[in-house]
Symmetry: C2
Subunit: 342 residues, 2 copies
């Protein structure tokens, strides 16, 4: 090794140590995402599908994290991460969302910022390419928190958000799932095999979401979904309900939920976790465990949440066999996971 | 006084005292209703209008209370009381609901029972005569908690609920209010008189609701509304949102809210009160005060709530000059009030 190289190397090591010594003095940033919870079992997964899902989760979390690193807001990070999952046909949100009983998509999304508890939500939109953008637009550009159906689509278009035809969202895989589900539903319950019954129950799940903490100490949470396969009567789940599927408050935490929406609405899950922290002095992790295992589960519901508190602590809690998820914590450590026991 | 009369009198007194000694051993029943909170000022009210409103409130609370006395469930009582207010053109729910920007009604309602945290809600229905019935039907006869728009109307009709044309709901008084509001909105904000500005702000309010406790110890809560005058884009307020406008759990309380819906959603008001009781050990009264005055008000919102806990304690809290309201407490004492300082 000649002297020049040696000096360069020492300089590199020195610069490296300086950077790592400085890093902890910067306010923490952290981000977590989910791509839905449910009966996700290794035996039903091909290595290729698993690989594709991990790749999209990784792209999504990096899209958000890079913005946070550059000093972007938690809102920008949440929106960026959710865009990646909405644009991927692999997740039940945006492109590739599940189909309702008529073979169409109806999309729900919500967003909340922790700084001031501002929030926006849309339910049952059919033409906004990225429903999370519509939720943010409701928050920023209307006096309202929640718009639904055709009115929400009109509002989004008036705000200049990209509108697409239904064909954009609909994928052959979701058409196949809908047909398969409808044919199974035509069979008597008693005649269903265990696998078929599981398949029917699985249709309740699938949502994407993100929680983030930025350098300014602001939390944000967002959730986006196509809801349940074969849904009827303009059913709305927990994803667009502030307090149920999404909640953020710098005084407690940011939460995005996924699971059997009806149970998450009845238990006001996202806000229940925040309230335990505020009024009961519980940690985010303890509060999330209580909410999923002591409130949702005893009523017969299942699903999971991702949560982040103002110090950057991340929690992911579920009572399902799996939840697609990823996180980058305050130390910059990346995790991408699928199964509960991973 | 001859002996026979004397004996009869003594018997009467004896029986009377027996009855009053027995009454307290029966489990308590109680009920409270509201007909909306807002800028309700004595100077803007005619004695005739005040009288009519007090009469409907009185009919509504008695309709519910009589069912409770006969051993009916809190669900039956809540529905009966709300029916009276939905059917009256004086309140912003059902017949006489306010009109949206197109001069039509879009109605929202929700219901929750405290025994098992079952819940149902509809938003943006246009043809169900009594939207509270549709909320109950969603809870009882669908696997869902929330249905919106045309789907919710179809579901209600499939359940055999009475459907009516829009004309049934629309009253000349609400048409006049809409015209008046729209003409004021066409004026520049700076050109508005204080009275006109107040008139515009007032359009945010008006909802009916009921909370009840039955002899079996079960709480229930329901809320029904036409939302805001001149609303656009299928706006949904807090009334049909479980956790925001309505919540019930025997472990804490039953709540129905009314006010500036957006602030009640962002603060998850109904569940916030329950959570303070469960996790913070606060009384219903303290929790309600905190929610309205420390959470809603600091963000700029206003409105009120009615609440009832499992022991039958009633709370009515508001930060508006008035809230149409009535209650019959565990001692059978009736109160009918309009102004905050009554």
């Amino acid at each position: 090794m000649n002297n020049t190289i040696c000096i360069r190397l020492l300089l590199c090591l020195f610069t490296g140590s300086l950077v790592s010594a400085q890093e902890p003095t910067k306010p923490p940033i952290a981000i977590a995402i989910h791509g839905g919870a449910g009966t996700i079992l290794k035996k039903n997964m091909t290595p290729e599908k698993e690989q594709s899902i991990r790749e999209v989760l990784s792209s999504a979390i990096h899209a958000g994290y890079e913005l946070l690193q550059q000093g972007g807001s938690s809102q920008e990070a949440v929106v960026a991460a959710i865009h990646v999952m909405e644009d991927s046909p692999l997740f039940n949100a945006g492109k590739g969302a599940v189909l309702n009983a008529l073979g169409e998509v109806e999309l729900d999304a919500s967003f909340m910022e922790g700084k001031n508890r501002n929030a926006g939500a849309v339910a049952g939109v059919r033409h906004v390419r990225n429903p999370i953008d519509a939720a943010v637009a409701v928050m920023e550009s209307s006096p309202h928190v929640m718009l639904v159906g055709a009115g929400a689509d009109s509002f989004a278009q008036a705000q200049g958000l990209t509108a697409v035809e239904q064909e954009y969202f609909i994928t052959p895989a979701r058409q196949k799932s809908l047909k398969r589900l409808q044919s199974k539903l035509n069979k008597a319950q008693a005649a269903l095999t265990a696998e078929e019954d599981l398949f029917i129950r699985q249709q309740r799940y699938g949502t994407v979401g993100c929680v983030a903490l930025d350098r300014a100490g602001n939390l944000a949470a967002g959730t986006s979904t196509g809801g349940m396969t074969n849904k009827q009567w303009n059913r709305v789940g927990d994803a667009p309900i502030i307090g149920a599927g999404t909640y953020a408050d710098n005084a407690s935490c940011a939460i995005s939920a996924t699971g059997w929406g009806e149970y998450f609405i009845r238990n006001v899950v996202a806000y229940d976790i925040a309230a335990q922290m505020m009024y009961g002095g519980r940690s985010l992790a303890d509060a999330a465990q209580h909410s999923i295992h002591q409130r949702v589960a005893p009523l017969g519901g299942d699903g999971g949440i991702i949560g982040l508190d103002a110090s950057g602590q991340i929690t992911m809690e579920m009572n399902t066999p799996g939840m697609y998820r990823a996180s980058i914590d305050i130390n910059g450590t990346l995790e991408v996971k699928i199964y509960a026991d991973e």
